[in-house]
Chain length 425, copies 2
């Protein structure tokens, strides 16, 4: 290996990342716009752009709008320089997709399955679906650059391993990354709620916000936290575990949560709890609507409860209202503590009806400080089921184009990085 090419100084690396990030997140730009937005001088912008064009990450396009003088040439991020494989594993369904380097979804498949079937069976199936997705793509941009996976439980981000995940028996410390080592690309694994929060930040309603709480109400309840535009994972990487905050004013008997504690929020207001309570309403004769549904289906879930509430079934309305109030109380405390500008509500249960969202919103506004709610927006996710795969793609591109990894590619005193990047063109 030649040792004569000296690695770029940290300063020029920073310039490179700044220019790349701006064009990448804006889709396209011009040199004058880059100068204006980044504060870099004309000479620095020109040089960094030339390098990024050489690496195959930027392309010169047509002439852009003139602002008086000669019209500047458009610079485009080469999203088609490669592709990514992403997976969002929920408790009861899996989403798999192929995305380009801008995180745009090219092919998407969704399937029901059971995460509790165990790591080997589930990951073999994910691999099959990866292959199926790749085969279905009409035209696959460039080579594979990376893989991103979201899991429904706590994940140690630096090792990519699930840590004692309550609903994933047999997955504790499973080497998820190593299962896909044949692909010979970098792989990132994170908690599904963190991944969904990233999706909202890059492509959803959180795009214009800096301080965001994304809350997923599915089988369980969890939160993804964005601080000044970046995901907050916390000291042990388990920030956002709001489903296991204890509810204190419980009427009647303690309820045991799947985490082993009693009276956790999700033991009352999560999807699994709502399904259980809906079946109880049906069996106890307190909801003829739910009783009919239970006869037909054999079991009930939170969607059935929402359907019953939408038909005006009083017992179902009460159950959902109570769940919304409990979630809203928890969020009110978080609003006082964290002062976000946006709360995004996502997940299967949240998507099932308007009543839950309305109750949560009312409870948050009533119980938080006026200053903290002055401009607070509480909205449902608009990404539908795609939030997870969009977020997983965002996780991969953020890591691929981080200063740390770019410096690994471009630096080290050898042109290996450049060759590696060039090979991806």
């Amino acid at each position: 290996m030649a040792r004569t090419v000296s690695g770029p100084a940290e300063e020029s690396l920073n310039g490179l990342v700044t220019v790349l990030d701006f064009v990448r997140t804006h889709g396209s730009s011009t040199r004058p716009r880059l100068m204006h937005a980044t504060g870099l001088t004309r000479a620095v912008v020109t040089q960094r752009v030339a390098e990024l064009v050489e690496y195959g990450l930027l392309a010169e396009g047509e002439l852009g709008p003139s602002t008086g003088g000669r019209a500047p040439r458009l610079l485009r991020f080469r999203a088609d320089a490669g592709h990514l494989l992403v997976a969002d594993l929920g408790a009861t369904s899996v989403d798999i997709a192929v995305a380009d380097l801008a995180g745009q979804i090219i092919v998407h498949v969704e399937e029901p399955y059971d995460i509790a079937a165990g790591a080997d069976i589930v990951l073999d199936h994910v691999d099959e679906l990866f292959q199926q997705c790749l085969a279905e793509a009409d035209e696959l941009p460039g080579k594979l650059w990376g893989i991103g996976i979201g899991l429904p439980g706590p994940v140690e981000f630096h090792s990519g391993r699930p840590i004692a995940p309550p609903i994933m028996p047999g997955w504790d410390r499973h080497p998820v990354r190593e299962r896909f080592s044949d692909y010979d690309v970098p792989i990132w694994v994170d908690n599904d709620v963190n991944v969904m929060a990233l999706g909202e930040l890059r492509a959803g309603i959180a795009r214009e916000h800096e301080n965001v709480v994304f809350i997923k109400i599915g089988t369980g309840i969890g939160a993804g936290i964005v601080v000044e535009g970046r995901l907050h994972r916390g000291a042990q990487g388990c920030a956002g575990d709001v489903g296991h905050i204890q509810i204190l004013d419980v009427d009647g008997d303690d309820v045991i949560c799947r985490c082993g504690n009693v009276n956790c929020l999700e033991a009352f207001a999560g999807g699994a709890a709502l399904g259980r309570d809906a079946e109880r309403l049906a069996r106890e004769g307190r909801s003829p609507f739910l009783a009919r549904l239970l006869d037909e289906k054999g079991s009930l879930d939170a969607r059935d409860l929402s359907r019953a509430a939408a038909h005006g079934d009083p017992a179902s309305v009460e159950l959902i209202t109570n769940a919304g109030r409990l979630i809203g109380r928890m969020l009110a405390g978080i609003v006082n503590f964290f002062n976000p500008s946006l709360i995004v509500i996502g997940g299967g249960v949240a998507g099932a009806g308007d009543l839950l969202l309305a109750t949560i919103r009312e409870s948050v506004y009533r119980r938080s400080l006026p200053l903290a709610t002055r401009d607070l927006v509480v909205k449902r996710s608009t990404l539908e089921g795609l939030g997870g795969v969009i977020g997983a793609a965002a996780m991969v591109t953020d890591e691929l184009f981080s200063p740390h990894r770019l410096s690994q590619w471009l630096d080290a005193g050898t042109p290996v990085g450049r060759r590696e990047l060039a090979a991806h063109r």
Copy 2:
């Protein structure tokens, strides 16, 4: 003004801030250590150091330890290049200090006073104490570079104005900064709890931590939040207002809080509430110890309650234990949400005895998730009453040496910045 000197590019500004921050926060360094720690090349480090020596911010010292070759020369941050005036205004006492540019306190005075006396009276008194402190200093390093003030209420950081502060009648939107415009230096004002959290981060037990919750238990209760080593102020700047999180399982009548809502945490567990409840215990004959104290003093506060508990007075022990449990419950929810590695407990009430801290700690560990508390440390502040002024000095130096302000000084295509800095030598 000469226009021939072109401003430094953003890239070299970043290098300048990186080098300055490292030497500043470590007190001293060497060029090889700087290269190793910052990843900057030898050439860049040499140039940035030369510039910072020219500006009077770094000084060459004696020879440092050798690591084989020629011993490198020590570089020292010139903390003596200037001084700062800082004030920490509490509800019932004010701390004033002179600090050097490293945030070391040179002179400190503390006085009882009443924040409710109104903005003009209080700020005139602060100004007198500033003058008194300046007069008391044996040798004042350099010129005055900046002023920092902490206030016991919500502050809009960018304008430096208090916003509807509950215990500061007449202070709403008061132009605090403008009051000290005669000093002709930049002035920063923030909420006292944020300022104290900064103090812990720079000079207290939070120094080695990235994700910290500082909680002040004084007349009221508030939190300062540190995310990845930086203060988190939130979307409206009111993050950390945990004293007004509602307690839900209240036995008996609702308690009206000074904020206008009912059953806020600080209406039960804040210093004002504990003083009120201590007087009630004395009057109702439930604590002979407190009754004697009330006879002597005419009124009781949280310190009297702590003293009674330390003497084994059962009613006082119960009151403090109950307050600790309520604060601990609130913190347990925050631990699940935010996953800090450290909780620092400060403020006058927290300093009054061990019982409160022990109860808080027990409650946090019992009610938070095991993964989130695995390495969680819950400790009392060790800065005693100085946390506020140390933090206010840290706020000023962080802002003075921020990239934004350094660029204002050094940039603008003129050597004005250099001259301004040189004038401070």
